[in-house]
């Protein structure tokens, strides 16, 4: 019982941490805040979810302890991580953090310019 | 473990002290916060480190870490939070009223 718990939990947890590490590398390596937000929000979310699931399974299998708190934690992270990414990117854009030079297009810029024109008129 | 933590405490004390000897409000407050952390670390160290499970009787363990320092730190944390909150707002108001955050410019007409 405990051995299988360790195997399953170990896999989930280890994979989760690896994903977290990679996303951290992404956070360092990617060129601008917007691209980094992809790494930050998604990869690490997946990482933490994997770890949490591993933890949950570990206790379920080894002790039969099914933790609502952990489930709630998973749900909460799942729910909020994308919002966080959204809000950060929006804030960055609205505080005029530039896109990286390799960026191809920026339709939002056009939209904003058009909006401010309408206001001025 | 205790040795290691003691050294960390010392380093935190050094950094905190250096900060509070600064002239800028913010750095002083940051320094005080670091000192508070160092002290909390010190208190928990004094109870002995890692000598048992968390002090929860529901857990399956017979040895618990010393709960008293934990309770003390809890109180200290809360108080420190209260004080810091006040100090922060005070420094903000002071900055607004005096137009500077440089403590050297806030000496006043000597100490009056």
């Amino acid at each position: 019982m405990s051995a299988s718990a360790e195997v399953i939990a170990g896999i989930f947890i280890f994979v989760g941490t690896i994903i977290s590490l990679i996303s951290a590398i992404g956070l360092v390596r990617l060129p601008d805040v917007y691209t980094r937000s992809h790494a930050g929000s998604k990869s690490s979310t997946l990482g933490v979810l994997s770890v949490l699931v591993g933890t949950l399974l570990y206790f379920v299998i080894s002790e039969g302890y099914f933790s609502i708190r952990l489930i709630l934690g998973i749900v909460f992270v799942f729910l909020t991580a994308p919002v966080a990414a959204h809000v950060i990117c929006r804030a960055a854009y609205r505080s005029n953090v530039p896109l990286t030079e390799t960026s191809a297009e920026d339709q939002l810029k056009d939209y904003f310019e058009q909006q401010s024109k309408e206001v001025n008129e | 473990m205790e040795t290691l933590v003691a050294i960390v405490i010392g380093i935190l004390f050094t950094i905190g002290t250096y900060l509070i000897l600064s002239n800028q409000m913010l750095r002083i407050i940051l320094g005080l916060s670091i000192l508070s952390h160092a002290v909390n670390l010190m208190i928990i160290t004094m109870g002995g480190l890692k000598q048992g499970g968390p002090p929860l009787l529901a857990e399956n363990t017979t040895r618990f870490t010393d709960p008293v320092p934990q309770a003390l730190i809890l109180t200290a944390i809360v108080i420190n939070f209260a004080v810091t909150a006040f100090l922060l707002v005070l420094s903000y108001r002071t900055y607004k009223m005096h137009g500077t955050d440089n403590m050297d410019e806030l000496r006043g007409n000597r100490h009056g």
Binding site: I19, I22, S23, I25, G26, R29, L30, P31, D32, Y34, T35, S37, H38, A39, S41, K42, S43, T45, L46, L49, F66, F78, L79, P82, V83, A85, H86, C89, R90, Y93, L99, T100, T102, S103, A104, E105, D106, Q107, L108, K109, Y111 | -
Partner: protein, 161 residues
């Protein structure tokens, strides 16, 4: 639907009384039994069987998770490349979804699609501006999956409610 859930919970408690065993597992037993009872008696309720909604919701979650994993892998691939070679950008997509919940769900899903983050929602809730990590790659996949998302969302929010 809420009424059905309530009945189901009541049934679960009833089961506990029958078993005289206060535990989560007994409750779960009772709840599952309750589901079956409800399934049999579903014609007495006007609304569709609520587990269909739950099913749709789970499907949505499944879509979420799937997208999450694939998006993560995409990102990870990029990150681990010796030299990062991407052309990010911001583009607009339009949607016919209505109401806060639907818009939100779509946005969350898009955020979880490989290499895309919603940057702005226009005040009229009609368009989303999305940042893509690699325009040629991501833009198409976003536009493709948008339709799947919208259907899955409508299943949850409109079909079984």
């Amino acid at each position: 639907m809420p009424f059905q859930i309530l009945v189901n919970i009541l049934l679960a408690f009833l089961w506990i009384f029958f078993q005289d065993n206060w535990s989560f597992l007994t409750f779960l037993e009772g709840y599952i039994i309750g589901i079956f009872i409800l399934l049999f008696t579903r014609r007495f309720f006007k609304a569709p069987f609520y587990l269909l909604f739950v099913y749709a919701a789970f499907k949505l979650v499944y879509v979420f998770v799937r997208e999450l994993i694939s998006s993560a892998i995409t990102v990870i691939r990029q990150v681990l490349r010796p030299k990062i070679n991407i052309t990010p950008g911001i583009f607009r997509i339009d949607t016919d979804l209505k109401g806060d919940v639907e818009i939100t769900l779509l946005s969350l899903l898009i955020c979880l699609t490989p290499g895309s983050v919603v940057m702005e929602v226009t005040p009229d809730d009609k368009s989303l501006y999305v940042h893509a990590m690699d325009i040629p790659d991501s833009k198409n996949s976003v536009l493709k999956s948008q339709k799947i998302f919208e259907r899955a969302i409508k299943d949850v929010t409109r079909k079984y409610v």
